[in-house]
Amino acid sequence: MNMMEHFQASLNKGPAVPAQMPIKMKTENVKVHYGDKQALNGISLDVKERQVTALIGPSGCGKSTYLRCLNRMNDTIDAAKVSGKILLDGDDIYDPDLDVVELRARVGMVFQKPNPFPKSIFDNVSYGPKIHGLARNKDELAGIVETSLKRAGLWNEVKDRLDEPGTGLSGGQQQRLCIARAIAVSPEVILMDEPCSALDPIATATVETLIDELKQNYTIVIVTHSMQQAARVSQMTAMFHLGDLAEVGETEKMFSNPDDKRTQDYIMGRFG
């Protein structure tokens, strides 16, 4: 079995992807400079609604940088300068009229290393709804927490110990708690930056199943180093290379018949 066949075996054989989903996020010629260094050389990429878009590529290719542009997390880095257009439902997210707080409520993020707040499980999930005023009373808040934990597939494991610290959970549970925390503010898009890289294979499988379920309600963009993971969970794949977008297309096509030489080499394991 050659490498291509190997990946095809991993490909998501779920219900056929609706051919044309509407575009949720559109980026045009996005460039990012860190001081003098240019990290992204003009990326134009469409993220389709209620699909999983995987960003793959060797280390340092700019996929995480691109991801962090989508909810303006790059704002927190003084040296980073972003140019180009990023549209969410057709609205420029760098428009001064659009508040970054509102943007991040609509575009949530899950990080590489699970980073629950050192507070109780309940407080972790309820923090977002609280600051955005999503619940009018305690019962509503508890409802949101329960729904979010259920959607993240964590409810049954933690329902009896919601007041225990979130940091006491296992790595995989912590990451699912972070996903629950992100979906508690009802985002439209969830960005995931290598969400499984700190997890063991079993926890990874759980999170991947979860991602597959979440795509029914959310648009997901995931950065991953694991090509099997990209093949398993995504419908669209974008291959980054040295700050350029090498190729983007349907995952199935990318892993079976890539157009770009670099994609082919990367998937075959020749570099990266």
Partner: protein, 441 residues
């Protein structure tokens, strides 16, 4: 043949490699052992120095917590004090009365001395402190009905007697070479045998103010002055320092100007404290016109001195909060302010508290700047407000250390013990807070 040669060669090669490796390993272990030994030696030296210091201080100072007192039946005679009715009208007589004579008469009765025997009366009178004036006056003025009655009162013994009782004088030398005469010695022995003379716990050490008589000198005013100053330092330095650190660490842009500020804060922490004293003298006293010797000026000067310590500790504590916590909050749509005050600051709190308490402890032990703003003062009365003249614990120690009398030597060490006690208390609080609130992630 070839086999043998080959074997011999390879054995040799193995031996050499093995030998070389052994030497390397032995050297590495030896250097590790050496380093450990240096460490143990350094720590032992430190512990020895600490134990020696504590032993010296405690062995000299523990006697300061006991004070020889004599139980004397005092007759508050109407001849001297006037009737209670007269006293209620005018206190002049009470203020002017010859209380030492009352004490002398009481002692004479106790020791069965003929009041006409002037020498014996003088010798007996010198057994009690001249501070009895204040003690007895306070008793009478507190309760006028005591006039005309007789009551047993514990009076402070003279400090020379106190020192003798504590074995600080060699009493076997000729009479002319010691402060206590043979006659007085005989009185002392009689009083002690009958239980009229005892060493009692010296509460006065904690409650009295400055006094030129060792037996009535205490650190009460100094403790209150230090407490005022610590309060001022805490109220000013904590909010200013924490606010400055949060701004510098979380909000300020990173540029040349903020770099310059950072360098200067670090340098300020190393400025000799006496320079801060000069600054306080020039600015707070000469320019702002605040009163000299007042706790408020001391507090302000110590605030300036403590600020860099608190800022550095707070910034370190803020920096130790993992950035992932900030990302998590920002990623959920928390504003910068919410991120800092709801997540970063609570996590940094134990570090900030520890830094603050260490800064306060440093300020509590500071002497030099207080010398310059006039807190080296003889303050007998409690300061009612921080604007009144006061002194501080380390300054009181400094002043007592300059006194020649035996009784002040033990009091100096006693006051050091009290100061060390407060410092230990603060440091234990810091450790406790750190343990209690430390978050792991």
């Amino acid at each position: 043949m070839t086999d043998v040669t080959a074997n011999g060669l390879s054995d040799n090669a193995a031996d050499t490699t093995k030998g070389r490796r052994d030497i390397g390993i032995r050297k590495r272990y030896a250097s590790e052992k050496r380093f450990k030994a240096y460490g143990v030696a350094a720590i032992s030296l430190g512990i020895f120095a600490l134990v020696f210091l504590l032993f010296t201080v405690v062995s000299k100072g523990y006697t300061a917590f006991w004070q020889t007192e004599i139980r004397v039946p005092i007759t508050f005679s109407q001849d001297m004090l006037g009737t209670p009715e007269q006293a209620a009208e005018s206190q002049t007589k009470l203020l002017m009365a010859n209380y030492p004579q009352l004490a002398r008469e009481g002692l004479a009765r106790l020791l069965e001395i003929d009041p006409e025997d002037k020498a014996a009366m003088t010798a007996a009178g010198k057994l009690v402190s001249t501070g009895v004036s204040v003690e007895l006056r306070d008793i009478v003025m507190g309760d006028l009905s005591k006039i005309g009655t007789t009551e047993e009162v514990w009076l402070y013994a003279d400090s020379e007697l106190d020192s003798a009782m504590k074995g600080q004088y060699d009493l076997n030398v000729p009479e002319s070479r010691r402060p206590i005469s043979d006659l007085q010695l005989e009185y002392i022995q009689r009083l002690e045998a009958e239980g009229y003379l005892q060493q009692r716990f010296n509460w006065g050490l904690f409650t009295h103010g400055a006094s030129s008589r060792a037996e009535t000198a205490g650190v009460g005013v100094a403790i209150l002055g230090s407490a005022y100053m610590m309060l001022i330092v805490l109220v000013l330095a904590l909010p200013i320092g924490v606010a400055a650190s949060i701004y510098l660490e979380e909000f300020a842009p990173k540029n040349k100007f903020t770099d310059l500020i950072e360098v200067n804060i670090n340098n300020l922490a190393a400025v000799p404290s006496i320079v801060f004293g000069l600054l306080g003298l020039a600015v707070f006293i000469n320019w702002f016109g605040l009163p000299r010797s007042a706790a408020v000026v001391g507090g302000l000067v110590l605030t300036l001195m403590t600020l860099p310590t608190i800022i550095i500790a707070t910034r370190a504590a803020l920096r130790a909060v993992p950035p992932s916590i900030r990302w998590a909050a920002l990623g959920l749509g928390a504003s910068k302010n919410q991120t800092v005050f709801q997540h970063v600051l609570p996590l940094a709190a134990p570090g900030i508290l520890t830094g603050t308490i260490i800064g306060l402890a440093q300020a509590l032990g500071e002497t030099a700047p207080l010398l310059l703003i006039g807190m080296v003062a003889f303050v007998a009365d409690y300061p009612d407000t921080p604007m009144d003249a006061a002194t501080a614990l380390p300054v009181q120690i400094y002043m007592w250390a300059n006194e020649a009398e035996r009784a002040f030597v033990e009091r100096t060490s006693g006051a050091i013990m009290i100061l060390l006690g407060f410092l230990a208390l603060m440091n234990i609080t810091a450790i406790f807070l750190r343990r209690r609130f430390e978050q792991r992630w």
